[in-house]
């Protein structure tokens, strides 16, 4: 076997970004971003609206030029004469493309398939996204979830090496979201590399091998979902509200509490062991004669990581 083919592919990132900056006038939508995504990896860009996720993904897709920095996709740079060759290997789903209303599923997939030299048969792609029964249906008559699967079909017609998904499940019902997730899982199982943006934490945890949390054009945390959650120092979140006032200082030193935060009358504690911290909290409240209005607990999520890093919730903006 020739030596060139024995280089382990794992050594070469499928996506490589160094010092990426994108400015719109004075505003830097992306402000010095570094990123490496390995072949076969499913990587999530996570963050609130306006964090620079879409700008980043569209620069990687070659749809807009960067103001500064280096970008390589599959080891190739955009605008150096190999764009069409590279596009043959990419699958792209944009955030808000509206496919033409009055074309059928079949017609739409065939159109996109015709742009590529290689790939599965249109029928096979339609079957893969479970739209066989809607083959002759016009796009205008599809549900939101079906449209999104059609849009995925258009991204998969060339059996791409890299799949870019910009908020693939925004606005979908839970069942449609799961269908989209299964398609992304399938793609990863076949060895494809995925870069997706989302502001759903559960989506990132469910799909992504690694996640970068973005805010104001920068990556503020990067790692596997488990690693990121581990940075909180504890795995559980206790949220409660009281009738009347309560100072944060009163609860942040309770046993097992690693962080405490107060927002809009709601206090959340990140705790290692709820069965230790909650009785302590209740004791403290009754000692202060402060009645409890509400109390919930959940496993710490990436959402809690984001709140802990920025002091804001993802849906604030």
């Amino acid at each position: 076997m020739p030596a060139a083919l024995t280089i382990p592919t794992a050594a070469r990132p499928a996506l490589y970004v160094r010092g990426l900056v994108k400015r719109y006038g004075q505003l830097a939508a992306v402000d010095g971003l570094d990123l490496e995504v390995m072949p076969g990896e499913c990587f999530g860009l996570l963050g609130p609206n306006g964090a620079g996720k879409t700008t980043t993904i569209e620069i990687l897709e070659g749809l807009m030029p960067a103001s500064a920095g280096e970008v390589e996709v599959l080891g190739i740079r955009w605008r150096e004469g190999r764009d069409l060759e590279l596009r043959e290997r990419l699958g792209i789903q944009l955030q808000e493309t509206k496919l033409s209303d009055k074309f059928s599923v079949q017609e739409t997939v065939e159109l996109f398939r015709s742009f590529y030299a290689r790939g599965p048969l249109p029928d096979e792609v339609i079957r893969r996204v479970a739209l066989e029964e809607k083959r002759k249906t016009w796009v205008v008559k599809l549900s939101g979830g079906q449209r999104q699967r059609l849009s995925l079909a258009c991204a998969l017609v060339n059996a791409p090496d890299v799949l870019f998904l910009d908020e693939p499940t925004t606005g979908l019902d839970p069942q449609s979201r799961r269908q989209v997730w299964e398609l992304v899982d399938d793609f990863r199982r076949q060895g494809g590399t995925t870069l997706l943006t989302t502001h759903y934490m559960d989506e990132a945890e469910r799909l992504c091998d690694r996640v970068a949390i973005m805010d104001h054009g920068k990556i503020i945390a990067l790692g596997t979902p488990a690693e990121l959650i581990a940075t909180l120092g504890a795995e559980h979140v206790v949220e409660f509200a009281v009738e009347g006032e309560l100072e944060l200082a009163a609860v942040e030193r309770l046993p097992g509490v690693s962080q405490a935060r107060s927002e809009a009358g709601r206090i959340s504690l990140i705790v290692r062991e709820p069965h230790v911290s909650i009785p302590a909290l209740l004791d403290e409240l009754s000692r202060r004669r402060t009645p409890l209005a509400r109390l919930t607990t959940h496993h710490a999520t990436l959402e809690d990581v984001f709140v802990s890093l920025t002091g804001r919730t993802l849906r604030d903006e």
Binding site: G75, G81, I92, L121
Partner: protein, 401 residues
């Protein structure tokens, strides 16, 4: 920046296999200063065969884009109406409004008086006159308001007086007709008898002038809207952006819009022409080949113009405005409803250079004046230049995002 991408990408497409790794030799000036890519090109992680069960499916993107455009048109009932029904309805309305009404009669007033009856008897022998006997005051009002063209007065002895306004053709005509009738009644002998042939012929009527103009107008409207509207919609819906995220050639997309137009062209021209032939008896006297070529090249020129107009506009509304700015001067100046020769000489260079003027004049020459292909070669060449220049500019200026 898009043009650079597109052009260079296309150029590099064929020798893709031979292309050096990481693209360095294709790098633009200035790339050398940047650090070399730290990573080699990443090969596909799995054999292509595993990616899909069949690789053999092949369908031309240009054909698929054109087919979609044609289907898209058929599935918009409004568009079908504007292209086919509208010009036919317009031809019908104008054809009826300006139909030949037979010889027009001149309206002659006779002032009441002792000799009024004799004068009326003399004038009545001419079939082209319509007579009104009026009191003196009423007669002056009728004359002033144009209800009669000439007033004949014979109150006192001596020759009758004919009052009329010589600056208007129809009153002058009424004067001549009245004079003629009075002279004949007085016993004039014509020194040169003539035979009049008054049969109207197809080719010289207003409808014969109108039908080529309507065909030209229709080519303009459908040519420009036929490419402008789909592009504006696709751009607004970010479909254009999605399309350029594929390896689709940009040129193919623009060409498909024009090709889809051509398929409908034959039908829409046939609709107007067939209507003219069936209802008004218009005929094509000259070369059918020339007729076909003028409509074809004309349609391509208008489509190119439409592409150029829509090349930068971001919204459907902006496109509507721009389309009207471009089309209105041609509606007015290019002689679809009346001859463009009516405009003063200093405007003629502009008027004659407009593509619609060229199409209208060429179609009229072919239909009504038996022009051959050679006779319309120059207009065809000028139309071709319009088309090529507009397409090249559109390809350059086109906004894909």
């Amino acid at each position: 920046m898009n043009d650079v991408t597109g052009e260079a990408g296309r150029a590099a497409r064929e020798p893709a296999e031979a292309a050096p790794r990481a693209g360095a030799p294709f790098a633009p000036p200035g790339a050398a200063e940047r650090s070399a890519p730290p990573h080699a090109e990443v090969p596909s992680p799995r054999p292509r065969a595993a990616a899909g069960s069949t690789q053999g499916w092949k369908s031309s993107p240009l054909w698929n884009l054109t087919r979609m455009r044609m289907l898209g048109f058929l599935r918009e009932p409004e568009a079908v109406f504007w292209v086919f029904a509208f010009p036919v309805l317009m031809a019908l309305a104008l054809g009826i409004a300006f139909r030949s009404q037979g010889p027009q009669k001149s309206r002659i007033g006779i002032e009441q008086g002792p000799r009024a009856a004799a004068i009326a008897a003399a004038l009545r022998r001419s079939p082209d006159l319509e007579l009104f006997t009026l009191a003196p005051e009423a007669a002056r009002v009728a004359l002033r308001r144009g209800r009669i063209g000439v007033l004949v007065r014979a109150a006192d002895p001596g020759p009758p007086t004919l009052t009329y306004d010589p600056s208007r053709p129809e009153t002058r005509l009424a004067y001549l007709a009245a004079l003629d009738a009075l002279e004949r009644a007085a016993g004039r002998i014509d020194p040169l008898p003539v035979r009049a042939d008054t049969q109207p012929r197809p080719g010289s009527r207003y409808i014969d002038f109108l039908i080529p103009g309507l065909i030209g107008l229709n080519l303009l409207g459908t040519g420009m809207w036929g490419v402008g509207f789909p592009v504006a919609t696709a751009r607004q819906q970010k479909l254009l952006k999605r399309l350029i995220a594929t390896p689709m050639r940009r040129r193919d997309y623009l060409l498909s819009l024009m090709l889809a137009r051509l398929v409908w062209l034959a039908f829409e021209v046939a609709a107007v022409l067939g209507f003219g032939i069936a209802v008004f008896g218009t005929i094509v006297r000259g070369s059918w080949l020339a007729f076909g070529l003028v409509t074809l090249i004309g349609a391509l020129a208008f489509s190119s113009l439409g592409l150029l107009v829509v090349s930068r506009a971001r919204t459907v509304e902006a496109v509507s405005g721009l389309m009207n700015v471009v089309m209105l001067p041609m509606w007015l100046l290019s002689g679809s409803f009346f001859s463009s020769e009516r405009f003063p000489a200093f405007m003629q260079p502009l008027v004659q250079a407009l593509p619609l003027t060229i199409v209208n004049n060429a179609l009229r020459a072919i239909m009504n004046e038996s022009a051959t292909l050679a006779a319309v070669a120059v207009p065809l060449a000028v139309l071709g230049v319009w088309g090529i220049v507009c397409f090249a500019l559109a390809l350059r200026l086109f906004r894909w995002e």
